[in-house]
Amino acid sequence: MVPPQWYLLLATAVFCIGVLGILTRRNALIFLMSVELMLNAANINLVYFSQFWGNVTGQTFSLFTLALAAAEVAIGIGIILVLYRNFDDVDVTKAVTMRW
């Protein structure tokens, strides 16, 4: 059996890729993808430890997370469409009207 630290490392790696994506990229679509990566990093943990303890609760929760991610994508795409319509771009640094 693969020891737990490998799974943890994998999840951490995926999560960090997601965070870096958000911190470095300016395209809103890439943002959305990075968020998906972070969510799925959590899913990896949930599924692994569910199997590790022999308990299905974690896997059930990962299903919830997938459903949530799907809903989030739907809203995210909508927001990006509006963003494009208003600013003719999907660069998040251009849309700075919502500030003090």
Binding site: V19, I22, L23, F31, V92, A95, V96, M98, R99
Partner: protein
Amino acid sequence: MAGIFDFAPAIALLPFLSFLIALFLGDRMPKGGALAGIVATGGSLLLALMTFGAVSSGGRQQMTFYVWAQGVEAVDLTLGVLIDPLSSMMLIIVSLVAFLVHLFSLGYMNDEGETGLPRYYAGLGLFTFSMLAFVMADNLLMAFMFFELVGLCSFLLIGFWFREPAPPSAAKKAFLVTRFGDYFFLIGVVAVFATFGTAQFAGPESFPHLAEQAINGEHAVNTLGFEPTTWFTIVGLLVLGGVIGKSAQFPLHTWLPDAMEGPTPVSALIHAATMVAAGVYLVARMYGFYALSPTALAIIAFIGGFTALVAATMGVVKREIKQVLAYSTISQYGYMMLGLGAGGYVAATFHLMTHAFFKALLFLGAGSVIIAMHHNEDMWDMGGLKEKMPVTYWTFLSGSLALAGIVPFAGFWSKDEILYEALVHGLGGSPLLLGAYAMGLVAVFFTGFYTFRMVFLTFHGNPRSETAREPHGVRWNVKFPLVVLGILAAVAGLVNMTPVADLTGNHDFELLVKWLEFEGGDLAGLSLANYHHLLEEFAGYHAAELSPILPGLLSLGLALAGALLAWRLYNVPEPTEHTDRLGSAKTVLYNNYYQDEYQVWLAESVTYPLSRAADKFDQGIVDGVVNGVSSVSLLSGSRVKRIQTGVVPTYATLLTLGLTALLVVLGLLGGWF
């Protein structure tokens, strides 16, 4: 015991009903609500007489009929009725005078075509209601509440002609000056509650009785660390503040002469039976408490004597008939205070009664003269009214003889009794009272003088103006009250002829003493015997053996001397002003010893800077702290909001940094590293 006492609250509630009727339906009623008032006060008078009858056959009543604030581990606040000889007597006086004033108002207000009559009669009804309820109050808090209502009503009625400039200002002055005294009264009420846990006037659980036990060491009360006697003196003086304001004693007497701006029947009501009488009645009501403190009694006596003298001298130079009467009222209430302070409880209540009759009479008589003179009040425009209005003249003369204290009219017996009490108690070991006695005695001379100066100027000599030659007639509704009161002023003194009783040894002449000296049961603390006991034991008052003849002759002689001087100077066909002979004293007297100026000065150069300083403190320190806090928030807010740039990656950076920092902190605290 069922019977008449169950109707006692109705004595007060009937005028309240007439207040409501006059207020809401007065427009639609004939005479503007006067009839409702007359019927209601007449009913009150009837009930008061029946109550009086029941009390004379031995009935007493103390009943709490409404608890309006239930105390949780504290005092209950209640409304109740206390019917004893003193209050039953006062109920008759108040309802009788109110009844006659209502009748008189038909002539003074309705026949003169005044507008706003519903408002007037509503005010009279509420005034009568408040005073009657005050008289039968069985605890100090209820008394205070109705004391305040009485003040409010006087404000409403003095300012009745609110379209002219002077009455509203006089009304405000009356309200504020009495309020100044009532402020101390309120503190006194709170002090009584805090000390005794009750404010009942009568019974074994009443505060005068508890105070007596506290001084004897039988019952501990909370005296805030003072000696019981000292503390009771302080509490007594606090309550006295309200009395001084309402009964127009020096130095809070200044409102009363200005209150003459109100309609004359209102002046009669205020001076004879309601507002001003309330103060003296309150002292009489809680006499068992004051009798415990010789200091408080001495202060009462001195204030009384001083007020009697000062007010009498001011009355000497006044030109308006009502002004003379106003100063005479202040002076007469000074006598009552002197009587109470000097241990003459009966004498003071007796004077309260006789004064109610003759002062109501004099004011109504003055009202009749004012109707006749087409509302000109200047005595120098009158003269010779004797032949034109004989009923007014003879009744007014009866009242004047009573006021001046000429035997056998009412005022002689009661005033002489007060002076006699002051003298015998002064000689009997309280020499301080002799000073107060001396002031009272000198005031007798001035009283005789200004009273007859007023009579001679108004009614004798030749008419000095066109209106005095052709005066306006008055109707039965003016004459009837005058006649009733005129007879009372002549004979009311006969109910308590203590000097005669002392000389003949027949105590049947002292009806009032017998009346107030009752076998009490639960209410024994209110009896004269108990007051005598308290005065001797706690105040150290002992009566010296003295024949009443010499002091009586002395004061009668002084009154006659004053009257004779007035007769010499003013009972001539064409009297002239003799005030110039007074020299510089004249200006001082015309300006009322500069009391008004003094008080205005006090307000402008002491109170005003003080309130400016308080305002500075409020605006600067208190508001400064509040404003400082808010401006710090505003400033920091305007700086901190700059991090909201609208650039999403910045937010993400901050979020990540925050999360990292959180993890680092948690790690450090949790000992991961």
